[in-house]
């Protein structure tokens, strides 16, 4: 995983509550065996017309004014639904580095953090302010400081967001959690020898 300490980028908003992973990436795109190239499937059914190819001019991500936005501001409870990690892969493939919402579904948040996509939890007022800023001026940009856990709005107001110490450490240092767990081999072995195995799938 690459190190992530700062994000500076313009915002685009999808002010819809409960955006589920089937909207972020529909299941028919899950037949892949790698992570690459999923960006074009992000929000596919909202982004394209019935034919699946013609961009839907009404959908915000097709508006050239918002091209290159790297911070997605969404309605409440973002990422609910399936456990597919294809959701953060698709969002990152589409150029996003952070998603801002009032809350995130548990599995989505875990998946996002493991890939260096930052879930930023803000209060409703900040969320609404970002919605209107994005609408009024598509060039609105924000900055995020991972170490300080702050999102800074164009007016200079810095909003603090929660981030557990471990995820923060991993983001800042580009550490992936697999390495951490592999280093615990002895402890895991000890656990295994002290506890009876529950089932043997090969039996």
């Amino acid at each position: 995983m690459e190190k992530l300490s700062h994000i500076q980028g313009s915002i685009v908003s999808i002010p819809v509550n409960d955006i589920d992973t089937d909207q972020i990436i529909p299941a028919r795109f899950l037949k892949v065996t790698d992570k690459a190239g999923l960006g074009k499937a992000a929000f596919c059914d909202w982004r394209y017309m019935e034919d699946g190819e013609t961009p839907n001019p009404e959908f915000i991500l097709n508006n050239p004014d918002y091209e290159g936005a790297s911070v997605l501001v969404a309605g409440d409870n973002f990422g609910c639904g399936s456990s597919r990690e294809h959701a953060p892969w698709a969002l990152m493939g589409a150029g996003f580095k952070a998603v801002v919402s009032t809350d995130f579904a548990d599995i989505f948040r875990n998946n996002a953090l493991k890939n260096g996509l930052l879930p930023v939890v803000v209060d409703v007022d900040t969320q609404q302010q970002l919605f209107s800023l994005a609408e009024e001026d598509p060039s609105t940009s924000v900055s995020v400081d991972v170490a300080a856990q702050t999102l800074t709005l164009p007016d200079g107001r810095a909003v603090r967001f929660p981030l557990d110490g471990f995820s923060k450490y991993c983001l800042l240092n580009g550490v992936d959690q697999m390495g951490y767990l592999l280093a615990l081999d002895e402890e895991i072995q000890k656990f295994e020898s002290n506890n009876q195995q529950r089932v043997v799938t090969m039996a």
């Binding site: 509550n17 299941a27 409440d76 409870n77 875990n110 493991k114 615990l184 195995q197 529950r198 043997v200």
Partner: protein
């Protein structure tokens, strides 16, 4: 099993027994995983992680694979093989076979007599047992909580972690007691309980919690009913839902392939009896619903929280005070092409889907078959019945249920996820309405532009016969 005399919940007991390293300010807990279920869709990139680093699967003997999501459910050919027409799906299945073979993981391939939906086969094989930790790269892993296991869905990176280390980094969730008091009335099922709970708390209502379902109505459910309830915990935002194990649980497990036997069985049951929440243990939150007040439920919108009694009218956005909710409701009704205040009863439908890890077990199929027996599916309706596993399929066929369905004009399919996720050719056409026994009614979930009403197998079967959304109670004979 009280620790220092402090009463503990079922969840805490299972959590504590699996903590390799305690949670601290610097890091989440490291949790040991007893059973890891893998399938073709969320695992390929995890196996790639292992290959890139030259790692082995630590405990292939605690891992099991099955093919379910992208597999077709169309009939076998003359050679007894289920052909995979979709090139990408075929490749994904090949990659999965190779991964399981290379890493030494036992796996049930498409068409194998034990293959099926991952959450159906775990319990069916006796792999799912009380007090275990179970994970899978699939959010409906919550299903296994019906046995008093701590079972939850994980992402692909985490699948890699478990494959390589048999552990996971987890922050300890909070607990919520979900009490379902009283008894269910006729025609009201486990599915209606969980749809009512989600309608009450909303789809984000359980975020950060593990549910423990309690109360008389839960105790009276069969294991299959409990699985239906736990299955949709995730639709309420909770990653896991649990039911304390009891005699119903033990009876279900005993004699299954991977269940303990002989003296081991007695020892296991003695351990399992220690698991239920101690009197006086505290939950972080508690909610109560009355089973005797429940009616058959149905969803009208585009998330599982948008549910109501089948006899109710679709809510009106103008009655909604919360702005965001009003917008969401407007958007949902537009997608569903429903009018505010409209009754769903009598609404014409195109498809009825009986299947998915929520409702594809033998008791679900028996319920539906009983209902359609001697009746005919309405002409405007395509009814699909998709058993959850090859074992369920065989059982149903030995009871003649397949014939009942065929006689009624329904399709009897091979086992798999099918139209629950629409990855495998089984899907709605744009604009079609389905009454579905699956768990998600998100936009496009059952096919692009398709519209889903989630309901119980009874409501689905009744609607298939009538051709319109129907309250099954109006079609149940008094002997039912």
């Amino acid at each position: 099993m009280r620790e220092n005399g402090k009463p503990r919940t079922l969840f805490e007991k299972v959590w504590n027994a699996h903590t390799v390293r305690e949670q601290s300010n610097d890091s989440p807990a490291v949790l040991y995983i007893d059973l890891h279920l893998v399938h073709e869709v969320t695992s390929p990139q995890a196996f790639s992680m292992l290959r890139e680093r030259g790692l082995a699967v630590r405990r292939p003997d605690q891992t099991i694979g099955t093919m379910d999501h992208s597999t077709p459910t169309t009939p076998r050919n003359e050679q007894g093989i289920i052909p995979v027409a979709d090139v990408m799906a075929a490749k994904q299945l090949d990659v999965f076979s190779k991964n399981c073979k290379d890493f030494g993981i036992p796996m049930y391939a498409l068409g194998d007599e034990h293959q099926g939906i991952v959450h159906v086969i775990g319990p069916e094989k006796g792999l799912t047992q009380p007090g275990m930790t179970i994970v899978c790269g699939d959010s409906h892993t919550s299903t296994h909580g019906a046995f008093g296991a701590l079972a939850f869905g994980i992402g692909t990176s985490e699948v890699g972690h478990v494959l390589a280390t048999q552990t996971l980094l987890q922050n300890k969730p909070k607990t919520m007691a979900v009490n379902v008091e009283g008894r269910l009335g006729d025609g009201v099922t486990a599915k209606d309980i969980i749809l009512a709970i989600i309608a009450k708390i909303g789809i984000g209502g359980g975020t950060g919690y593990v549910f423990e379902y309690r109360g008389e109505a839960i105790r009276s459910l069969s294991m299959e009913g409990r699985m239906t309830v736990c299955n949709m915990s995730i639709e309420g935002g909770a990653r896991a839902g649990m039911v304390a194990p009891d005699d119903t649980t033990f009876e279900y497990i005993q004699g299954r392939k991977h269940a303990p036997s002989g003296a081991d069985w007695d020892g296991a049951v003695a351990r399992w009896r220690q698991l239920p929440t101690d009197d006086g243990a505290e939950f972080d939150r508690e909610i109560t619903i009355r089973a005797d007040e429940l009616t058959p439920m149905i969803t009208y919108g585009t998330n599982p929280g948008m549910g109501m009694p089948v006899t109710a009218a679709v809510p009106k956005p103008e009655d909604e005070t919360d702005v965001n909710k009003k917008i969401a409701l407007d958007k949902a009704l537009t997608y569903m092409d429903l009018a505010p205040g409209q009754q769903l009863l009598g609404k014409a439908i195109d498809v009825v889907f009986i299947g998915s890890c929520t409702n594809s077990r033998i008791s679900d199929l028996r319920l539906a078959a009983d209902f359609v027996n001697g009746r005919k599916v309405a002409e405007n309706v395509r009814m699909m019945v998709v058993p959850g596993s090859q074992q369920v399929k065989q059982q149903a066929e030995s009871e003649g249920l397949d014939e009942i369905f065929r006689q009624a004009g329904a399709e009897w399919r091979e086992a798999g996820c099918s139209m629950c996720i629409a990855m495998n050719g089984d899907q709605l056409q744009p604009g079609q309405y389905a009454v579905s026994t699956s768990n998600r009614n998100f936009e496009g979930r059952q096919g692009k532009g398709g519209r889903t009403f989630l309901a119980s197998p009874l409501t689905a079967a009744a609607s298939a016969i009538a051709g319109v959304v129907t309250d099954p109670r109006t079609m149940i004979s008094s002997s039912f």
